[in-house]
Each structure stands twice: as C-alpha cells, then as structure tokens.
C-alpha cells in the first residue's frame, strides 16, 4: 500500500512538472510577452524599446532558465541599471539588493504580481478560491446525494419503468451543459419579462452574503450537468451488484427487498461512484468558469477568465498551478480511495 502511494505520488509530481512547464511555455510565447511589454510600458513602444524592456526584466533568457526561476530552483534574474541600481524580481521596492533572497519562485511561495489587479497573485487567488469553495460546497451537497439516490433507485430494478424514466432523465441532464441550463433557468426563474421571479439572475451579491435567492440558480445549474454522469455510473454499478450471487442468496433466504438494497447491495455499489465523484472535480472547473461568468460571481473561474483575456501571465500561471494541483490531488485520492474501499484489492 505504501509503495503504491509512493509510486503514485512520484508520477503525480512528474505530471505536475510537465503540465506547469507546458502552461509556462504557452503563456510565455513571444507575442504574449510583447503584448505584456506594451501594456506595462506604453502602447507606442518601438520594437527596440520592447526588446530592451524584455531584456532588463530577464524575459529574453532561455525558456528553461526562466521556468527554473519561476519554479524557484534557479537564482532569479537581476539587472544592473546604468546608474548602478540593481533591480530584479526578488528585490521588492525599498529593499536592499544585498539582502534580498536569491530564489523567489513558486516553491518559495512567491507567485508574483498580477498586472491587471495590481496586487499579489497569492492574495487574489486565495480570496477567489474561498468564494469558489462555497459554490463547490453547495454544488456537492446538492449534486452527490441526488445523483446517488437517482442511480440507486434506477439500478436496483434494472429495466423497470422507474429505471427507464430516471435513466432518460440523467441522459437529459448530461446533454444540458451549464450555458444552456443556466440560460433556461434564468429565463424561467429570474427573468423580469416572463419569469417567475423567484431567484436572482445575478449572484454578485452572494460574494458578501449567500442567500437562497441569489445562490440557488448557479448551484442548480452546475449540479444539474454533473449529476447525470454520476447517476449513470451509480446505476451501472448498482445494477451489476444486484445480479451478484450473494444478492440472490439473500433473496432466497427471504430477506426483504428494502433490506437487500440497504444492507447488502449499497455498500458494494458505492465503490465505483466514489472514484467518479472524485474525478468529477476537474470537470467541475469548466462548470465553475461558465457559471461564474454567467452569474457574475467573481470567484476563481472569473479570475481565470480575466487573467486569460487580459494576458495577465503571472496570474494565469498561478491559476493553472491551482487547477492542475486540484486535478492531480483528486486523482490521487480517487486511486488510493478505490484501493482502500475495495476489500478485494486491499487485502491481496
């Protein structure tokens, strides 16, 4: 077990390195840097001025060196101005270059400055992640129990009328991406022209206080799309368990049907959905981005859109690190959890 975790963690680390390097490469393409220089300096800079702007900030070094600096395993670039002043990424304003640290990358906890929000990237990301955390919490609280109930009810009597209608329902939810269901929900429940006006179409106020009126629609929208997939996986797993020998034995013994489902089938049927639910997290990121844009809830997804559309390189990089980290950790947990939950693998 320990060797397994060790090996998985090693692969995960390697994956993280590769992925962050790809993101670093894609965000630091030359046209992006040029755009950054013009946005930070002035729009009317000549090509030579852009080049010197990039030179003095170390952007013209080889890509691997810069990746190392960003990661914090290479000493950060320093430039001595003609007047003898030393500037660099690690040297904050009003800091003596002699005492400033040599390394200041992600490993040292330095995520850099956002060029759009003019603030530390780490404070922006942590604040926005908190907001998204609330969204995710409510989505999970709604989505997981609903999906499991639908899946178990559909799977316990395969081919019955209940199974057919619930299965069709879950297929329908997987066919409704967030930008479709969100739009429909807003029109039905929030539109001032024709709707029921139960909820608000914007969740901007939910950033301060979450209420039933301003937070229901985004949570519902996100849960709706993810639910069908988990429900179908649960159904398949449940249907398989219900054909097992020990269920037949229990039936022949005369155990009542509710008892069979609750005491015998459920435990084994929920192993597979656990993996699916964990793997659903990275999927939810797309949903978070769409829902936060649609409902104007300024969380992590919103920041990601802002960073990407405004060429905010440092912020986009950090967002990617967070996203990749979440994906890899949930994968690890699902792998370990699967082994842990499944007695057939755990004991052998």
């Amino acid at each position: 077990m320990l060797a397994f975790i060790f090996k998985r963690s090693g692969v995960m680390l390697l994956t993280a390195l590769c992925l962050t390097f790809v993101v670093f490469f894609l965000t630091n393409l030359h046209p992006n840097l040029e755009k950054l220089a013009k946005a930070e300096g002035s729009m009317r800079m000549s090509d030579e001025q852009v080049q010197s702007w990039l030179d003095t900030r170390g952007y013209t070094q080889p890509l691997l060196v810069r990746y190392g600096e960003w990661l914090g395993v290479m000493p950060s670039y320093r430039y001595t101005k003609p007047d003898g002043k030393v500037v660099g990424r690690c040297i904050k304003p009003a800091m003596d270059p002699a005492v400033a640290p040599q390394y200041c990358g992600v490993l040292q906890g330095e995520f850099g400055l956002s060029s759009v929000f003019k603030d530390e990237v780490s404070t922006i990301v942590s604040k926005r992640l908190g907001l998204t955390g609330w969204l995710m919490l409510f989505v999970m609280l709604l989505m997981v129990p609903m999906a499991l109930v639908i899946g178990v009810l559909a799977g316990m009597r395969e081919g019955s009328k209940l199974d057919r209608s619930l299965s069709t329902f879950s297929i329908a939810t997987t066919a409704t991406p967030e930008y479709v269901s969100g739009v429909i929900f807003i029109v039905i429940f929030a539109s001032s022209a024709v709707g029921l006006k139960w909820f608000k179409g914007s969740s901007a106020s939910a950033m301060d206080t979450i209420t039933f009126a301003n937070f229901t629609l985004p949570v519902l929208t996100m849960a709706f799309y993810g639910m069908g997939y988990i429900a179908r996986m649960t159904r398949a797993s449940m249907a398989e368990v219900m054909t097992a020998q020990y269920i037949r034995t229990a039936r022949l013994k005369g155990v009542s049907f509710p008892n069979i489902v609750m005491k015998h089938a459920l435990r084994n049927a929920l192993i597979a959905p656990f993996t699916v639910i964990m793997l659903q997290f990275p999927w939810l990121l797309t949903g978070v981005v769409i829902v936060e844009t649609l409902f104007n809830y300024k969380g992590f997804g919103w920041v990601l859109v802002q960073a990407a559309s405004n060429n905010d390189i440092e912020l986009l990089l950090s967002c990617s690190v967070v996203a990749v980290f979440v994906v890899l950790v949930t994968q690890l947990i699902s792998d370990i959890g699967y082994v842990f939950l499944n007695p057939r693998i755990r004991i052998s």
Binding site: V11, S167, A172, T176, Y179, V180, L294
Partner: protein, 384 residues
C-alpha cells in the same frame, strides 16, 4: 401588418421545416422496411430511446443539409428597426415576411441564425471526433497489444493531457497570439498525419501478399491523404481544394487534441481485453503480423463500444464547441454559431429572453439526440 400569435409562429416554423419532415419520413420508412437487413442500425428501431435519439439527430442532420431552403431571412443581414423585436414581428419593408423567433441585438433573424448554426456544428463536431478516433485508435491498439514501455510512455502522455483542465487548455490554445507563433500548425502537422498512417497500415497489413491490390489501395490513400494533409495542415494545397481558416484550424486542432487521449484509453482497454481471445491466438498461430491482428482481428471486434463512444463524443464535442463560442473563442464573430449566439443573448436575458433560448434548445436537443442514440446502440449491441 400585425404580429403573429404563438400558434401562427409554431405553424409557420413547422411549415418551414417541410423538407426535413419529408426526408425524415422517407428515411424512417425505408429503414423500417429494410430493418432486418440493416444489422445494428436496424435493431436500433427496437428500442424506443434509440429511435427517439436517431430522429433528433436526423432532424438536425437534414436541417443542416436543407438549411438554405428552411431559412426565412439571410442569417447575416441586419434589417433596421428589427433590433430585439419579439417573435413573430413582421419585417419592416417586406410584405408577408416575419422574424419568426424575433430579432437579435444586431437586428438579425434569430430563427434563420439558429438553422444556419446547425451547419457549422454538424460539420466540425463529427469531423473532429473522427480525427480524434484515428489518433486514439492508431496509438491505442499498439499500446494495448504490445504493452511494455510503449504503453507506459503513451499512457503517461495521455494522462498528461487528461489532467489538463479542458477550459484552461482552450484559453491557452485558442488565442490570436498563438496563431502567429504557429503552434496550431505544428499540432495539426502531428495530429492530421494519423489518419494517413492508419489507412496505409490498414491496407498494407491486409494486402501485402497481393502487391497489385496493395499498390493500388496504398497509392490512392497516400495521394489523397497527403494532398488533403498539405492543404489542411499547412494551407499548401497546390490545387486549393483543401483549405481551413486559421481560426477554424486552431479550434479544430484543440478539440481533436482534447478528445484523442480519452479515445486512446478506451481503445487500449478494449485491446487488452480482446487480445486474450482465442481468435487472436489463432491468428498468431497462422503467422499473421501484429498490425494485421490489431487492425483486422481486434479492431472489428471492438466496434460496438467504439460506435457508442463515437456518438457520445460527437455530443461532447458539440458541447465543447459551444463552450468555446460562449467565451467568444468561436469560429468567427459573424458566424451564427450556437455558443456565440447564447453568449450574445445572455447579456440581455432578463429583458429579452427570446435571444438566447432558441440556440440553447437547439444545442441541447442535438446533444440529447446523440446521447439517446448512444444509449440505444449500447442496449442493442449488448443483446447480440
């Protein structure tokens, strides 16, 4: 002229789709008549879910084919005074013409835009899915069959792409800046090579004992394949037949790139399962080559799950394309792309709900059709 009532709008829309209804009726009648000879496709009509799914998909396929005959207005034309008008408003200055589903915020006909939007989706999504399948099959078969280091490396690469959040990849890959660096072209150069490799190996492994036939098939594949390859990937087609807009190429390549690792994983898993069967052992004893076994013994026997996944994946690709359009990364700002129309409409959603609803329902019904079709196919292929 007064506006149309809801009933009149509905009747008018049903009437506009006349050609689609005729085509659907003919297809359905022919399919049910020849049901017993059509294999899996014929069995599909035994399941209600599958039939409904097939009808939905065919509806949109025929709509895309007959789009020019269905539309009531030019999808790009802006008529002054028709901005954000309610459904059923008569067109100003045109006798007997109506904006059946109203006008959008640039005074264009929403109904015609929705109909025309089906074209771009129904060409890009199946094509991108087919390319992703070519890549996934060409890499997944040897990985599953041989195993070992090849499998480890390819699986690591596939997991790498899969661990990348899709939305992030799109934000990084579909930008005007990246087009100027040529990254999409390099990706296209790699990804578009796989179909050519696939078909060459397919014919070579089967017909290498009959050089005449082999030369013909491989030759035709190479000429056609490399011709299309040069045009699509590098825009260097000497005759100018094959060509893709840089923006479209960018989107196409990104979608193929995102989808192929999943296909790879499915094909690899199926191959590992099937290679233990007796007929594979029999082929090995006969002295068949590894590629023959993979492409002519294993692949045909893996077709059931692959066809099901193909349907599901077209639906997923449609959703992805819509997501791209939703974030303004769509094919072109003018085009009646569903995702982009939803994005434009959502800003005025609480005052003018009719802007975003038609494309949203269109996208949903197409994906729903594909998912139901996949479910029906799965059910029927398991029965065999």
């Amino acid at each position: 002229m007064s506006s149309l009532t809801a009933w009149e709008i509905a009747l008018q829309i049903i009437f506009q789709f006349t050609y689609v209804w005729i085509a659907l009726a003919v297809t359905l009648a022919a399919s049910i008549y020849y049901k017993d000879r059509l294999g899996l496709y014929g069995h599909l009509f035994d399941s209600r879910v599958g039939t409904v799914g097939l009808l939905l998909v065919l509806f949109w396929v025929f709509t895309a084919i007959f789009a020019d005959l269905i539309i009531t207005q030019d999808a790009l034309a802006q008529v002054s005074g028709m901005k954000n008008k309610r459904p059923g408003t008569p067109v100003r200055g045109l006798e007997g013409a109506y904006y059946l589903l109203g006008g959008d915020n640039l005074a264009r006909d929403i109904f015609s835009r929705m109909v025309m939007g089906s074209r771009s989706v129904l060409t890009i999504a199946p094509a991108a899915t087919a390319f992703a399948f070519m890549v996934g099959i060409t890499l997944g078969l040897p990985a599953g069959f041989r195993g070992g280091r090849l499998d480890t490396n390819l699986s690591f690469l596939a997991n790498l792409v899969l661990a990348f959040p899709v939305i992030l990849l799109f934000f990084l890959l579909v930008t005007p800046e990246i087009r100027s660096t040529g990254v999409p072209i390099y990706l296209a150069a790699v990804l578009f090579l796989f179909p050519v490799i696939f078909f060459v190996v397919l014919f070579q492994s089967r017909f290498y004992t009959q050089p005449m036939k082999r030369n013909l098939y491989v030759g035709v594949t190479l000429v056609l394949g490399l011709w299309a390859y040069s045009g699509l990937a590098f825009n260097a087609d000497p005759l100018g037949v094959f060509y893709m807009e840089p923006n479209l190429l960018n989107i196409f390549v990104s979608v193929v790139f995102v989808n192929s690792p999943t296909v790879y994983r499915i094909v690899r898993g199926l191959t590992m399962d099937i290679k233990t069967r007796d007929y594979v052992a029999a082929a090995q004893t006969r002295g068949e080559g590894p590629w023959y076994i993979m492409l002519w013994e294993i692949l045909p026997n893996a077709r059931g799950p692959l066809i099901v996944d193909f349907c599901l994946r077209i639906g997923y690709t449609t959703i992805l394309l819509g997501t791209l359009g939703f974030f303004g990364l769509g094919v072109s700002p003018e085009s009646p792309d569903w995702g982009m129309t939803i994005n434009e409409g959502r800003k005025l959603l609480s005052i003018y709900p009719h802007l975003a609803i038609p494309p949203a329902l269109a996208l949903m019904s197409l994906v729903l059709g594909l998912n139901l079709l996949a479910d029906g196919l799965r059910e029927q292929s398991l029965k065999d």
